[in-house]
């Protein structure tokens, strides 16, 4: 197993539940999400920046 720090940008959603689902789906593309947070919001572009650590089986 290895641990990796990643950042991702995602569109803001109508509800927090939808946003959470989108975040999980996007992080899954990089590995198994271990810890994440929205760390920045750009309201003009309606984007959220996600920082996360994911794990991958080596």
């Amino acid at each position: 197993m290895t641990t990796h720090f990643i950042t991702a940008e995602i569109d803001l959603q109508e509800t927090p539940t939808e946003l959470q689902e989108q975040i999980q789906n996007q992080l899954q593309e990089h590995g198994q999400p271990l810890r994440w947070a929205v760390t920045k919001i750009d309201q003009e572009k309606q984007k959220a920046t996600i920082e996360a650590v994911v794990t991958k089986e080596s």
Partner: protein, 352 residues
């Protein structure tokens, strides 16, 4: 009536003005614990290195478990005492290792904690620290497999019911980040990596875990902030972790089992959640926003984040500080709409 249950969150490694240093949100937790029946919070709030304050109605829940709890996937089962297993990083020097073993023995002799025999990881864990663009601290672990093998041994050979990890962290004596932290400014640059270590264990084994870093003692500094001073007292930050884990609730990962344990706690019984206003981007707050819990966002606890609740669609009660948050909680518990406690009160309007 169900017990009045509050969750207090101060995210780890984001430079929270209160709770971003050495257990300096503990007074907030103590005050909240006095006016609720059950307080659920996490190690970053309750850990003050060699300082701690066990509270009978307060539950020490590691962040990964707290996220699962908030998502209504896991429940909490209160315990009288856990057998705590101590996991030491092979990268810790012999003398520093001995200091930690003596601290662990002290908690047995002086506090009556129940510890299993300890395990040393089969390879150095190789913690790497990282500061992100947002200003948050993060980190990665070079040998997560070694960490998990050691935890497995503690659980399956030693009978551990909770895991305390001590990993060797880079000393980084000359760094500006460390100097700022000791002076009560900026971000705890260790905290993000600490969270990764405990998250790995909780995700894999579904038992309580927490972490204390092993570092060489720092040279004395007359400018150390009171908020960071708890970490200047000795050779180890381990005592608070062992105390917290000794009574940390166990996780219930099977939703069906709740019917057989009437003392278990599930997210739907949470009445209120308190969080810094600028740091609402965590998984737990997003999950709670989908529940009936009142989310109280505290403006005065500033962080490096700029993630207020509104753009995320999270409805909150915004308050200036923790004193005001306590007032909102008391009103909530008493069944009083806190808004009527203000002098101006508008008349009811007809819904269109």
């Amino acid at each position: 009536m169900s017990p009045f249950t509050v969750v207090l969150i101060v995210p780890t490694g984001v430079g929270a003005a209160i709770g971003g240093y050495a257990g300096d949100a503990l007074p907030v937790a103590k005050a909240i614990a006095k006016i609720c029946d059950r307080l659920i919070t996490h190690p970053n709030v309750l850990n003050g290195a060699q300082l701690y304050w066990p509270l009978d109605n307060t539950f020490y829940v590691e962040g990964y478990g707290l996220d699962r709890f908030a998502a209504q996937e896991w429940g909490l089962r209160p315990v009288r005492q856990n057998r705590v297993g101590l996991l030491l990083d092979r990268g810790i020097e012999p003398e520093l290792r001995l200091r930690h073993l003596q601290a662990a023995d002290a908690t047995r002799a002086t506090l009556g904690l129940n510890l299993t025999d300890y395990v040393v990881s089969d390879a150095p864990l190789e913690v790497e620290l990282r500061a992100s663009d947002s200003g948050a601290s993060w980190g990665t672990i070079g040998n997560p497999g070694s960490l998990l093998r050691a935890a497995d041994k503690l659980i399956n050979q030693g009978g551990a019911e909770a895991i305390a990890v001590v990993a060797r962290f880079p000393d980084d004596l000359d760094s500006l980040a460390l100097q700022n932290y000791r002076h009560g400014e900026g971000v705890d640059h260790l905290a993000g990596a600490e969270a990764i270590i405990s998250h790995l264990i909780v995700r894999n084994f579904q038992i309580p875990a927490a972490h204390a870093p092993a570092l060489m003692p720092l040279p004395v500094d007359s400018e150390v902030s009171p908020r960071a001073a708890a970490e200047e007292l000795g050779y180890t930050f381990l005592p608070c972790v062992l105390v917290g884990l000794s009574r940390a609730p166990q996780f219930m990962t099977n939703f069906q089992s709740r019917d057989h344990n009437h003392n278990s706690i599930w997210a739907e019984s949470v009445d209120a959640v308190i969080v810094p206003y600028s740091a609402c981007g965590g998984s737990a707050i997003m999950s709670f926003s989908n529940s009936s819990a009142q989310i109280i966002a505290v403006e005065a606890n500033s962080t490096q984040m700029q993630v207020p609740p509104e753009p995320l669609g999270i409805k909150v009660t915004k308050v200036k500080n923790y004193l005001e948050a306590l007032g909102v909680l008391v009103a909530h518990r008493a069944g009083i709409d806190f808004r009527v406690l203000n002098p101006s009160l508008s008349s009811l309007r007809c819904l269109s």
